[in-house]
Amino acid sequence: MTPFTMVTGTAIPFGRANVDTDVIIPARFLKTVTRTGLGMHAFDTLRQDPTNIFDQPRNVRAPILIAGDNFGCGSSREHAPWALADLGIRVVIAPGFADIFAGNAFKNGLLLVVLPQAQIDRLMAIAPEVPITVDLENQVVTTPFQDRFAFPMDPFRRECLLSGADEIALTLAAAPAIAVFEARLAHEQPWVALP
């Protein structure tokens, strides 16, 4: 995964609460065999409206999305973070996220930033004017107007995102322990192996 240290860029002031994964990527796009290419269908229903926020020239390939509370609720489809990433989004800022979505986002290198509603409101107000910076190293969101909003972050997830190590890379760092386990298994339970 691309390491995530800091991103500065346009933030899409979306702001809607309780956006479920069916809004992020409708079920009819799930017969795909790839993770990529879902961006064109992200928020498909909302984007039927030609004045929608996602297709405004300023917001195309914007790396930051500002949303309302409980973002990513509903079905556990991993296609939701895939669609956001394919749209170019690297950070979602919201007052809260649905659990399964949060796990899926992390597994796909998408940073989720939780801030109180008042700070979200402030960012919503200035996002159309100026770029916003999300600094994971220092766990802070800053703006050119000297705003400085600290955000909490699970230390394990922070470390993974900073190093760009996906969970698989981290697990592969435990390869020696896995090899020891495999050797013991082969010795003690030889019937587990398949010819």
Binding site: V33, R35, N104, E167, I168, T171, A177, E182, P190, L194
Partner: protein, 468 residues
């Protein structure tokens, strides 16, 4: 002496490679079952990161969800998914029992059948009904696509230990009661969230009395009660089932394995985090009336009334269910007519299921109101066995279509669907809105009950059609 442990704890402990300070454990996975729908993005991820499959020998693929059950070609999107599975398994050296392979079948039917599923193993698959394999004393559960990729790359998963729940089926079941009735009774009693966060262990005389195939029907529906997995301790029935299967150990290895398996059952005095007991002789033949698998009622009963539910949220959901199902409060269940019969799915497509249905159908014919009756064996091996016993003739003589193995009408993804507004007596595991096709109305029941409904054209107490 270590403290007494449950079956789950023993299998878990035997697979912990590493513990992280935050409580997550790195768990070794003994078998990874792969199918066409949840694996393409995982193989893609490996390709992007230039990673191999760590243990292709422990990875077994089949095509089941999206295969047509008739000889014809699948639609273009399904064909692309099936082609991706062919390419991925050949690129990464994974064994594939694809469409037209003699061992092909529903992933949860072929695992036990080929002796791939053994007591004490950890088994995962990108499918929520993986718990089926727990019937043999394995710890088996469904995973998401990123986890599929993680297991392909490392043969491990990061997990937190689950809580344990004992579900005891005490006493013996009455005449005409099958494993499916027990499974539905459990979901009806626990509710769809009743076992959330838990691994269920099924115990009690009624479970011990079941065949391995019957036990699979029970473990299959653990997820319908919200459980992460369902397990049944191995016993002589388990060993008799496994001995001689293709991938089961043989000779010296068998003796060694069996000695280990005999250490797995829960120790006397081991505590579960939760317990529930069901009186087996109270279980009647059950059917579902609503759009959640917990909506069960005895076939002799009536459709419930929303007014019976004091909780306003539940009352509203019952109202919505009845509207979707086209049923009236107080209607006798035996008066409900059906147009479709689906005999199949990983819950009930094994040889004993087909025998049970055939026993009811022999010498009879489907009712005039039945538009379609499907008999879909769970695997190539089940199909061959059924044909050797002449069951296929019983089905076709009764007016059923005898199909090729696959998930079929269980999920409305492949061509086998129930049309909008039509009603299906189904042996599958989910009666969700639209599960068998948009607008389809599903009643879950046992194979014998589905066969009885085929004969009469309405939901029927099978005990009236067979001699005691």
């Amino acid at each position: 002496m270590s403290s007494p442990r449950t079956l789950y704890q023993k299998v878990w402990d035997a697979h912990v490679i590493e513990r992280r300070p935050d409580g997550q454990c790195l768990i070794w996975i003994d078998r990874h079952l792969v199918h066409e729908v949840t694996s393409p993005q995982a193989f893609d991820g490996l390709r992007l990161a230039n990673r191999p499959v760590h243990r292709p020998d422990l990875t077994i693929a089949t095509a089941d969800h999206n295969v047509p059950t008739t000889p014809g070609a699948p639609d273009a999107e399904s064909a692309a998914q099936l082609a991706a599975l062919d390419t991925n398994t050949s690129d990464f050296g994974v064994r594939l029992m694809g469409r037209h392979h003699p061992d092909q079948g529903i992933v949860h039917v072929i695992g036990p059948e080929l002796g791939l599923t053994l007591p004490g193993l950890t088994i995962v698959c990108g499918d929520s009904h993986t718990a089926t394999h727990g019937a043999l004393g394995a710890l088996a559960f469904g995973i998401g696509t990123s986890e599929v990729e993680h297991v392909l790359a490392t043969q491990t998963l990061w997990l937190r230990p689950a809580r344990t729940m004992e579900v005891r089926i005490a006493g013996a079941t009455g005449f005409g009661i099958t494993a499916k009735d027990i499974a539905l009774a459990i979901v009806g009693q626990l509710g769809t969230g009743g076992a959330t966060g838990h691994v269920i262990e099924y115990t009690g005389e009624a479970i011990r009395a079941l065949s391995i195939e019957g036990r699979m029907t029970i473990a299959n529906m653990a997820i319908e009660a919200g459980a992460r997995a369902g397990m049944i301790a191995p016993d002589d029935t388990t060993y008799a089932y496994l001995n001689g299967r293709r991938h089961a150990p043989a000779g010296e290895a068998w003796a060694q394995a069996e000695a280990y398996w005999r250490t797995l059952p829960t120790d006397p005095g081991a505590a579960y985090d939760a317990t529930a007991t069901i009186d087996a002789n109270q279980i009647a033949p059950l059917v579902t009336w609503g759009t959640s698998p917990e909506d069960v009622a005895a076939i002799t009963g009536r459709v419930p009334s929303p007014a019976d539910y004091p909780d306003p949220a539940k009352r509203a959901s019952v109202e919505a269910s009845l509207a979707y199902m086209g049923l009236f409060a107080g209607e006798r269940l035996e008066d409900v007519t059906v147009q479709h019969i689906f005999l199949g799915s990983c819950t009930n497509s094994r040889i004993e299921d087909l025998r049970a249905a055939a026993a009811v159908l022999a010498g009879r014919y489907i009712a005039p109101g039945i538009a379609q009756a499907l008999a879909v064996p769970g695997s190539g091996a089940v199909k061959r066995q059924a044909e050797a016993e002449g069951l296929d003739r019983i089905f076709t003589d009764a007016g059923f279509e005898w199909r090729e193995p696959g998930c079929s009408a269980c999920l409305g993804m492949n061509p086998d669907k129930v049309p909008p507004g039509e009603r299906c007596a189904s042996t599958s595991n989910r009666n969700f809105v639209g599960r068998q096709g948009p607008g389809a109305r599903t009643h879950l029941m046992s194979p014998a009950m589905a066969a009885a409904a085929a004969v009469t054209g309405r939901l029927t107490d099978v005990r009236q059609l067979v001699a005691a």
